[in-house]
């Protein structure tokens, strides 16, 4: 992968110590309830069930210092009958973790995608969750204002970022 690859390789051997430390802290607290999806240089992903998501989010915010919400993305996997809701959280206060982005995903049943909102933990996710609601049809329980955000007010089709919605003229 050339020079860039080498640079990342060097960083990864130093960095992965920090990342594995986070994984250890999380597994010490949650054990089997939280699964590690991957550990890469500066990127960690956990898969969390929706029953533990609030507890988990509070833990990473208060105990680990991941306090800066960056993004919430929904991904539709019709083959697995699943919708992933992926939260990406950075850290502004914990100097050891500043270069990291921690992501945790809730995997929801595609036919009944309901999960609790994380707005009480991160106020900044309010509009990201609204966007995920209208673009993928995920319902966030307890959200202060789960309404249409970007789509036209008279939108009368399925949520457009689901894979079975096709752009006009581009049906496959």
């Amino acid at each position: 992968m050339g020079q860039q690859g080498q640079g990342q390789g060097q960083a990864s051997t130093d960095q992965l110590i920090v990342e594995k430390g986070i994984v250890d802290k999380v597994s010490a607290r949650f054990g089997e309830k939280v699964k590690v999806a991957y550990v890469k240089p500066r990127r960690i992903r956990f898969n969390v069930s929706k029953d533990h998501i609030i507890e988990f989010a509070r833990f990473v915010r208060d105990e680990l210092g991941f306090d800066h919400p960056i993004s919430v993305a929904g991904v539709d996997y019709p083959k697995n009958k699943m919708i992933d809701v992926v939260y990406h959280i950075g850290s502004c206060t914990n100097n050891d973790y500043r270069s990291l982005v921690l992501s945790f995903a809730v995997q929801l049943n595609r036919d009944d995608p309901v999960m609790p909102t994380l707005t009480p933990v991160y106020r900044g996710v309010e509009y990201h969750e609204r966007e995920t609601f209208e673009m993928l049809g995920v319902i966030f329980d307890g959200h202060p204002r789960l309404e249409r955000l970007l789509l036209p007010e008279d939108w009368a089709d399925i949520p457009p970022l689901r894979k079975d919605f096709h752009i006009k003229g581009r049906e496959e």
Binding site: M1, G2, Q3, Q4, G5, R42, R43, R45, D67, H68, P69, I70, S71, A73, V75, D76, V86, H88, G90, C92, T93, R98, S99, V101, S103, Y122, R123, G124, V125, E126, Y127, H128, E131, M135, R145, R148, L149, L150, L151, P152, P160, L161, F165, I167, R170
Partner: protein, 393 residues
């Protein structure tokens, strides 16, 4: 009802109560009496195509409900129908004034998922262009910020100085604003031979010129009267609301992706992260001004250190990504700009999510406007560095 309403409102003894209105301060619809709901926008009332629903009690805003979406174009859905290279031009459309900034993380993400090496010279060229583009953008924004606070000189000067930097961008890429200059594997073409010399000349002129903005704009008592102490964002709120870029740094958080997670060659260049602790509208306008000095320094250093060599890795016609996901972020002019890219091994991305700074400033804006005076709305709105087209994508 209509008649009764009129009786209630008009007449000398306007306090007369009518049935159903017993509840103090509320009418029978549950509406607050004395609370007026205003719809600001979306027909570009100095806000871009964006609507704010503002509820005011006298001239105090009691609630502000941002209503974006008037310029939503479905960029994320469009990405799923195009291959990695075809996605380049449309992805810079949400923010044409900072097209390098919005394309940068996408290019980095594609390079990682498709495993594309980048020549050293291309990394330097990207940094130079990103910093020049940062200045172009900040000038554009400060100019509009100035004119909406009634300072027309502050509109004319930045627009004129911007041209010098746009000349540089045009010289490198061939386009004035939408450069589509960054590609996976480097940049589209090498710099012309005369570029470094001209860039040095323009950047040094620009750095001298920046000083004059302080005299005309930041030291101006009228500008200060409208911004100092207005819309104060506390540090904890800034972090929890997900504020980013100059907004975050103006609240005293030293967080710059170029420093905390350096990409390309930022770790080889010397620059400072600018912060201020005030967190008011003035600080949010002042931080970018100081940052432009740093940008000029970064670009000058990169021009000095730039090695010779190739600038682009030759790619096959239709590069395929590995199965997996990447999350890449850069410090664009408005703040942290991130792409979450999921690939299922096809030449087209499976899912692309743009996390743009403007979208992240929406809850911050709503938070700051609550309790502010209506007359402070423009100063708070423009200090947010909010761009409707970028937020809507």
């Amino acid at each position: 009802m209509g008649i009764e309403m009129e009786r209630g409102r008009g007449g000398e003894g306007g306090e007369e109560r009518i049935p159903g209105f017993e509840l103090e301060g509320r009418d029978e619809d549950g509406m607050d009496r004395g609370i007026l709901t205003l719809s600001v926008g979306p027909q570009h009332p100095g806000s871009g195509h964006f609507r704010l629903i503002v509820k005011v009690d006298g001239d105090i805003i009691v609630e502000a409900l941002p209503d974006p979406g008037y310029v939503h174009r479905g960029e994320e859905k469009m990405c799923e129908y195009r291959n990695y290279i075809q996605n380049i031009p449309h992805l810079e459309r949400p923010m044409i004034a900072d097209s390098c900034g919005i394309l940068y993380p996408y290019v980095l993400a594609v390079e990682e998922i498709c495993n594309i090496p980048v020549p050293e010279r291309a990394k330097y060229i990207r940094v130079i262009m990103a910093e020049i583009n940062r200045c172009i953008f900040e000038l554009y924004w400060l100019g509009i910020y100035g004119i909406f606070l009634g300072h027309s000189t502050m509109f004319m000067w930045p627009m004129a100085d911007r041209e010098l930097l746009i000349d540089l961008a045009e010289m490198a890429s061939g386009a004035r604003v939408t450069h589509a200059y960054f590609v996976p594997g480097g940049v589209r073409n090498d710099l012309p031979d005369a570029f470094p010399e001209k860039a040095r000349r323009h950047l040094l002129y620009f750095r001298n010129r920046l000083k004059e903005y302080k005299d005309i704009f930041y030291d101006n008592p009228l500008f200060q009267a409208r911004t100092v102490g207005v819309g104060i964002l506390r540090k904890e709120d800034a972090i929890n609301l997900g504020a980013t870029g100059p907004v975050l740094r103006a609240s005293g958080v030293e967080h710059d992706i170029r420093k905390v997670e350096p990409y390309d060659v930022y770790d080889e260049l010397d620059f400072d992260v600018i912060t201020m602790k005030e967190g008011d509208s003035f600080a949010r306008a002042y931080v970018p001004w100081l940052e432009m000095y740093e940008s000029v320094d970064i670009a000058l250093q990169a021009l000095e250190k730039m090695p010779s060599g190739p600038v682009r890795t030759k790619l096959g016609p239709n590069p395929k990504g590995a199965v997996g996901e990447v999350f890449k972020r850069v410090e664009a002019a408005r703040g942290e700009l991130a792409y979450y890219l999921v690939s299922d091994g096809n030449p087209k991305p499976y899912r692309v999510k743009l996390s743009v700074p403007s979208f992240r400033e929406i809850p911050v804006m709503a938070h700051l406007l609550r309790g502010a005076k209506l007359a402070d709305m423009p100063s708070i709105y423009w200090s947010m560095n909010y761009w409707p087209v970028e937020a809507d994508r």
